[in-house]
């Protein structure tokens, strides 16, 4: 298992739903679970990843950067348990978790 942390500058969109958290996906083979929580990060966005597939740090960083550009979130913590999902599935779950929280 590999554990990774990333922090990015966020965009203008803080979570507005009032929900304390949202979850997208499940920890099944080729899938992942994304837990999204509003958190005062001074405008930043944090990603904490546990993954069964090591040595893909740059791939994760790229997927997260794309997501930030797409949805422009701020003050959110994304916690992830990954079981070898491919990048399009990661993007989908991020979008789903964010949509439910936003």
């Amino acid at each position: 298992m590999e554990h990774l942390s990333f922090e990015f500058d966020g965009g203008p969109n803080a979570p507005k739903s009032g929900k304390p958290y949202s979850v997208a996906g499940v920890v099944a083979s080729s899938n992942l679970e994304v837990l999204a929580q509003p958190k005062d990060l001074g405008g930043k966005v944090r990603f904490e990843v546990s993954t069964t597939v090591a040595h893909f740090e740059e791939a994760w960083r790229a997927v997260f950067a794309d997501f930030i550009e797409r949805s422009q979130p701020r003050d959110v913590l994304f916690s992830i348990n990954d079981f070898a999902a491919i990048p399009p599935v990661v993007s989908l779950r991020l979008d789903q978790a964010w949509e439910a929280l936003a």
């Binding site: 304390p20 958290y21 979850v23 499940v26 899938n31 837990l35 069964t52 916690s79």
Partner: protein, 292 residues
């Protein structure tokens, strides 16, 4: 009658099932994934964890009545029971015995105990069973909903059978030993676990419904499960020597009547059904022809 598109219970995640069953926005999760109470043991096996250890537990309402609910996530390690997973369910049932909601709904979707945590899962299963029996003793009915991809095997097969009533779709499977286990231990002649039709007619929702173990057979449609659950909510019947003798008599009679059967088709024929048609019948059709 307005037709709604099928909302599959089978395909849905545990969280989606909970959201679809309960009154909108009524669900309050207990020990949510933000608490990250993960398995303390899976790390030893370098296996991934889930923030909720594969089971969602909490409170909500069903047609305005307070209910507690637990839902196993079959896609996480086969819905298997680990130390934390089992403890969440036990805690919820003990909470119910104290606070007495109208019912506890149990969405079982589990292949049994998690082998990496075998002893914890086994002991935990029996803590759940004790807690079901205590909740029932307090008058709280525990209603099981079966219809997920893992079926209900091993410890979960026994646990779910302790419920006051079961609701199942055709997709549900319920047994103590899973077919693969029987095949591995006793040989393929004993049970060919790759014969899907055999697996379903032996352990599936329809067979269990025809034997009376499943109270309500429903289509694989979350609103159908919801309706069936609403209809089954009533206080748990106290145990008595009379009620258990009657149950024992019924079960002994089943052995007399069907004990020589080696296949479900023989059972159904003896029940007076057209065994060829049973696999194709809808829940409504089978309900109409089920022997009393």
């Amino acid at each position: 009658m307005k037709l709604t598109p099928r909302i599959s219970f089978y395909e849905a995640s545990a969280r989606q099932r909970v959201a679809g069953l309960l009154d909108a926005d009524s669900f309050r999760e207990i020990l949510p994934p933000t608490e990250q109470r993960i398995s303390p043991h899976l790390g030893m096996f370098d296996a991934p964890v889930a923030f909720d250890d594969g089971v969602v537990v909490g409170e909500g309402t069903l047609e305005g009545k307070e209910v507690y609910i637990f839902a196993q996530e079959g896609k996480f390690r086969g819905g298997s029971l680990g130390e934390v997973h089992a403890a969440k369910i036990t805690g919820l049932l003990r909470r119910a015995a104290i606070r007495k909601p109208a019912a506890v709904l149990g969405l079982f979707d589990s292949g049994g105990v998690r082998l990496e945590e075998a002893n914890a899962g086994e002991i935990g299963s029996t803590e759940i069973m004790r807690a079901i029996l205590e909740a029932q003793r307090a008058g709280v009915p525990v209603i099981g909903l079966l219809g997920g991809s893992c079926g209900c095997f091993g410890g979960s097969g026994i646990t779910s059978s302790c419920c006051d009533a079961l609701i199942a779709s055709e997709e549900a499977r319920l047994s103590v030993s899973g077919p693969e286990v029987i095949e591995t231990v006793m040989g393929v002649e004993a049970f060919d676990s790759r014969d899907r039709a055999l697996v379903w007619r032996t352990t599936g929702g329809k067979n269990r419904f025809l034997f009376g173990k499943v109270a309500t057979l429903v289509d694989d449609h979350i609103p159908a499960f919801r309706m069936a659950a609403v209809a089954l909510i009533k206080p748990s019947e106290p145990l008595s020597v009379e009620s258990l003798r009657a149950e024992r008599t019924r079960l002994a009679r089943r052995i007399e009547d069907y004990g020589s059967c080696t296949d479900a088709r023989q059972v159904w024929a003896r029940m007076g059904l057209d065994a060829d048609r049973v696999p194709d019948m809808t829940a409504a059709e089978l309900t109409a022809v089920k022997p009393a």
